[in-house]
Amino acid sequence: MAIVFRQETFRDDFTYRNSPGNIRRFPFPFDRDEYMYSVNMEPHVHGQAGTVYESLIDVDEHYVAEMHDRALVLKEDPLRYQALPHMMAAQWDTLELLMEEQAAGYPEHFTLIRNSDRWRWINRPLGIDDTFTFGDASTLSCEPFEYITRQAQGDFCIVDQRNDNLWMDAGMVTTQADWSLDFDIGMNFMEWHGPVPLAHQIGVFDRALKFLLNLQLGKPTRRFNWTMTINPRLDTSPENYHKWGPDRTTVTSDNVGEKVHLRVELQSLWRLPRSNAILFVIRCYLISMNELVTVPKWARRLHRVLKTLPSELVDYKGLTRYRDNTITWLSKHDDGAPTSPGIFPD
């Protein structure tokens, strides 16, 4: 069934909303009533219809508006896209993967026709119909990684694998939770995770790195990460922190429902066939508290997670100023009843 794409904004007047159907498929990240870092990885395999796992590269009603917002970010700050020179094979790997997955999942919206190395790519929602030579960057309007990630939801990093480590050597990062590609590009796995509190000490990154170094082709893996954002703003970059930071002071007990958003990253990691690099997809989903509490289980659970969140994480995730208001607001939606296991609505 064709997706009806919404016309909406992630800045200024913030008209972003989730339709009722989209709320039900929101990837709520908490499978229990409390939260702590863990190596919460599982195979990235197809899930049921009506969930974000229906296709492995998920396209939803926000696709067109998100791609428009990305174009605005890149116009202001082209450094949000960068790729080191040795990453060209991985760029083509990524283009192939995203075209194939989108065409397979949404044939009514995307079509890929291959004739040896002459490829034709049709993207109907964005009105694109291009023919190019796979492997020849001069036949595209920009580098292949930039070309395809201007047409795919989520942030994308390509990490190179060498010396038993992973290196952040390319990225398209415009919907990030406060980290800078321009600063982190070229860093290894431990370095770019340097500022994360607690997780280093409990060995999370050592185990995650070991796991990822052995990631196999055709067996992608996934995990959740999350934070909260005031207003449905995709571009919460450190570059623009002085522009969006003041939003955090605007939360009152009356406007929590519309202002405060749960921001979930569905991260999927894919071994790439030619380059042996790993594509790291960081797909961001936003849901307002008003929308979230339409699912009673999620309202109860988020209330409990926020109440028991370790203070280091409250600080690191930037929740300090509005956490109390949000907990009080959510408490009206938590009757203390037990919650069922797993992430899906009852």
Binding site: N163, D182, F183, E191, W192, G194, P238, E239, H242, R321
Partner: protein
């Protein structure tokens, strides 16, 4: 000597001379001269005849480290007036370097970072370059907002020398930029920046 536990910060393990190298290039700044001078008893004639020393006195002017370095009688000794001129000279030395040349860097962290940029731009692997931190803990900081770099930052917060925002100096270091990250400290409530504290003396 430095704050422990900053995962993205390089480890400065010391510049003990590598007896197997056929050529040694020492890029030294300020108190970094002492990292080489302290090794004097172990330096052989052969090593010195294969060594090139590039030095900028910077904050150590008047302490005569340059005279002590010159007295080593290395194959080459060059002294420059500023870090910038040293980096230019270093680029020249490295472009003429052959296999089995070892580069050593010592001085303040910002200096090490900038020499490292020159070397890695020329294709050297950072892990093959011994480094030693000497001198003050002052940091080289990049403003994440305007991307301008401010050298010799001793306090946090400090005012970005380019865009004027008050920046918190984060414990996050980019080898590619040779700099720590500075983030606006009063972004959420402009005008509420705390007093600067001298943290990196």
């Amino acid at each position: 000597m430095l704050v422990e536990g900053i995962k993205s910060r390089p480890v400065y393990g010391g510049i003990a001379i590598d007896p197997c190298a056929r050529r040694h290039i020492f890029a030294l700044e300020g108190e970094g001269a002492l990292a080489l001078l302290d090794q004097k008893p172990a330096l052989t004639e052969t090593m010195l005849s294969r060594s090139e020393v590039l030095y900028v006195a910077a904050g150590s002017k008047g302490l005569d480290h340059d005279l002590a370095l010159a007295a080593l009688k290395t194959d080459r000794f060059w002294q420059g007036p500023t870090i910038e001129t040293l980096l230019f000279r270093l680029r020249g030395s490295l472009s003429a370097a052959t296999m089995s040349t070892r580069l050593y860097i010592s001085g303040r962290e910002g200096f090490i970072g900038q020499c490292m940029q020159v070397a890695t731009d020329m294709g050297m692997d950072f892990s093959s370059i011994p480094t030693e931190h000497r001198g003050s803990l002052a940091r080289r900081v990049q403003c994440v907002h305007c991307k301008g770099i401010t050298d010799d930052v001793r306090t946090s917060p400090f005012k970005c020398s380019h865009c004027g925002l008050d920046l918190l100096v984060r414990d996050h270091y980019s080898r590619r930029l040779g700099a720590f990250q500075g983030v606006n400290i009063d972004a959420e409530e402009p005008g509420t920046a705390p007093q600067a504290e001298e943290l990196f003396a």
